[in-house]
Amino acid sequence: MKKFASPIGLAAVVGLLLLIAVAIVGPIVWGDAATSRNVAERWGAASPAHPFGTDDLGRDILARVLVASRLSLLLTAGATAIGLTGGLIIGLAASIMPSRLRRAVVWVMDILLAFPWLLLVLFFTVIWGATATGAMLAIGLSGIPNLTRLVYNLASSVSGTDYVRAARVVGVGPVGILTRHVLPNIASPLLVQAAAAASVTLLSFAGLSFLGLGVQAPAYDWGRQINEGIGQIYSNPMGAIGPGLAIVFAGLIFTLISEALADQPGQGIGRLVAASRAAVLPTDGRSGESGSESTVRLNKSPDATATEPAEAAPLAEVKGLHVAFPDGGGGVVERVHGIDFSVSQGETVGIVGESGSGKSLTALALAGLLVPPAAVAARRRAFDGIDLSSELTQSDRRRLGTELGVVFQDPLTSLNPALTIGRQLTEVPETHLKMSRRAARERAVDGLEAVGIHSAVHRMGDYPHQFSGGMRQRAMIGMALTAEPKLIIADEPTTALDVTVQKQVLGVLRAAKESTNTAVVLISHDIALVAGFCDRIVVMKDGQIVEELSAGRIREDAQHPYTRGLIACLPDMRSDRSRPLPVIDEVVRPAERHGPDQFADGGSGEGDPSEHVATGRDEVRSLL
């Protein structure tokens, strides 16, 4: 099983097998030792013959711990199974009930959840009496509300997806949807949870038996053994610690299993492993606005450290920029391959490219915002005289915080939902510009008015969710403007917005540029948009700059087949509707490596062979 091909997975599997083996053979092998009485040796301390000592009848405690593993584990498994089955049935059923009934079920479960589980267990114990089976039922049932809630939440999130909708359109019924789509997709988080729950259940049992409410004499489990051993804790500490160790060991194994089952390597301990791998990558120095960016110098030439005269330098620039990420297998994948990029004061530059072209990485590296595991290397990385590749001083950090504004695609994730817009807009002027609260507020109101938000004074008290998408994006820009930045980097700022709102947002950026001579880097996949807004366009592909063009003459000047393809395949209001759209042949991809002839020949591409169905190839070719 691939899932367990990690040290944790291996430990979990070995541990589980060990537990199962002991549970099966324990009573057979050590059964006699566990029951043979030897009153002469009662209350014996730990010795080589009896590593955990002996109990009141002189029986070997280690043997009893090993024998008790069967009962302890069976009860744990039983209770976990009850909780899981109940949770699955109620949770799944609730997810397909009509909304009123569903709300009622969830409501009841929420009330039960708010009830302390131990109280529930005690309640059930009263009903069924203090027996092992009673305790198992009690613990199992008291685990149901929790698991029901989990199953219900997981199932609801799956039910809302498009693939479930598609299945419904196709005519798959509710039960079919549960078994075909919901269960397979919630199974793995559920297993993780079940393994974690097993470890809690084990502890619950130990607790109950310890209190005398669980397993009753003459039967015994680990909890009862602790209870028995605790009386002699001063003469034979191992009598209580021994069974305790067994509980800790089994609990640890359950937790490890849960960890190993966790599907995605980004979770839990898996994340730690990934992080430590990233840390093994050579790093030198920490820098960046966030103070946590690691810088790797991949191709550092000796003369590159000589700083160029500040007057001639553009506002922001990177030279020989490389960005790499760990590939998950110990190596690294380079995503940006040594590019040069610069912005001058008051200039608007567009970076165009498709997903994976490295356009966002380039801009983030320019802003010093890439954090590990991203590894950044450049011969030179500077913003307005600040060398971003060296250790930053406090004042450099403050300057970066105010003079460089960044606007992301989704304003909902970049604005804090719990704070008012006003609070977030006054933060920069107050903390970075050291303004008084009143002055900061005035500045923030000005910022909102500058981005065309009416009655800004009143809207300062609103929360982000009270703003529409376009307003949030304008507020983000307004926030950047409060600091009078010299450079605004806008990464797909309008991709989630409608055309009319897009125009408003870009209008705000344009106004900022015109009134304060702010430089703007606009990143987008839409070449028409970028060309309409910017002075200069940089076309990126596969981590390299393919071409740099003046925006006004893009149609005339574009030379590279990829740029031409991008222009040609984008339908506009004049496209010929009677013909298929030109497509960018995948062959354009390796064009730099094979030369333009390869492209014209339409040779075989890599990756998706059908991505270049020949429908529009002639059109692209005729452009060349």
Partner: protein, 261 residues
């Protein structure tokens, strides 16, 4: 007779009216484009036609049979509609091989399929969308965004629908992939004679795909008509506003007139 007839359709969620009194028709082999801002109700119309949104008033007829409600005849009528969603990443079950997803959709035909027939049909559909039939066992995660969108197209075709609703099918895709998907849709429509309800906020894409266009705003139809006529000589201010906001390559955007909230 039209393949799809929508008359006086209104959809309400709780007390909020999302679509009010919308009527339109889509003829055989025709493409009707639906444009409008987010929140204009265009996606809700799509969901209502597919039976996934509650219809308050009005009727939806597919090839003449009423498709709203829970009756058996409505369910059978709805089988003739299939849908392609915006995000090919969430539109496919991550744990289900793509061939299985397509096979599942053959249920919508209402016929009984033998395992062998179904397998053959899946292979045939994959070929129709220019994917290698040998990849039927692949999981969605092994495919690129464009390939996944083809799989969802194949799945829509598996139900042998008379009309396909394409809701923002290219807005999550790269432009180079967008053109191949649009070409594929047109090619399949030509070959199989399917009608298309094509929803997008991208006017240029809608213009390229549609015979007729419907402009929507706040749940109502603002303007409708033959594509070229409507977009070259819009009668409504709102349509003109939409058109002027579309960036045109080689033209510098101007921002004088707006900047209002």
């Amino acid at each position: 007779m039209s393949v799809l007839d929508v008359e006086g359709l209104s959809v309400r969620y709780r007390s909020r009216t999302v679509v009010s009194d919308v009527s339109f028709a889509v003829g055989r082999k025709e493409t009707l484009g639906l444009v409008g801002e987010s929140g204009s109700g265009k996606s809700t119309i799509a969901l209502a036609i597919a039976g996934l949104a509650p219809v308050r008033t009005g009727s939806i007829r597919i090839s003449g049979s009423e498709s709203t409600g829970r009756s058996r005849s409505a369910r059978i009528a709805r089988r003739n509609v299939q849908m392609i969603f915006q995000d090919p990443f969430s539109a496919l079950d991550p744990k289900m091989p793509i061939g299985e997803s397509i096979a599942e959709a053959t249920r919508a035909t209402g016929r009984r399929w033998t395992a062998q027939d179904r397998r053959r049909r899946v292979a045939d559909l994959l070929e129709q969308v220019h994917l290698d039939p040998d990849r039927a066992g692949s999981l969605p995660s092994q495919l690129s965004g464009g390939q996944r969108q083809r799989v969802t197209i194949a799945r829509a075709l598996a139900g042998e629908p008379e009309i396909i609703i394409a809701d923002e099918v290219t807005s999550a895709l790269d432009v180079s992939v967008q053109s191949t998907v649009l070409n594929l849709l047109r090619e399949l429509q030509e070959r199989l004679g399917i009608s298309l309800l094509f929803i997008s906020h991208n006017l240029a894409v809608v213009r390229y795909m549609s015979d007729e266009v419907l402009v929507m705003r706040e749940g109502r139809i603002v303007e409708s008509g033959e594509t070229e006529t409507l977009l070259s000589a819009p009668r409504q201010q709102y349509t003109r506003q939409l058109l002027s906001a579309v960036p045109v390559l080689g033209q510098r955007m101007s921002f004088e007139e707006d900047l209002s909230a």
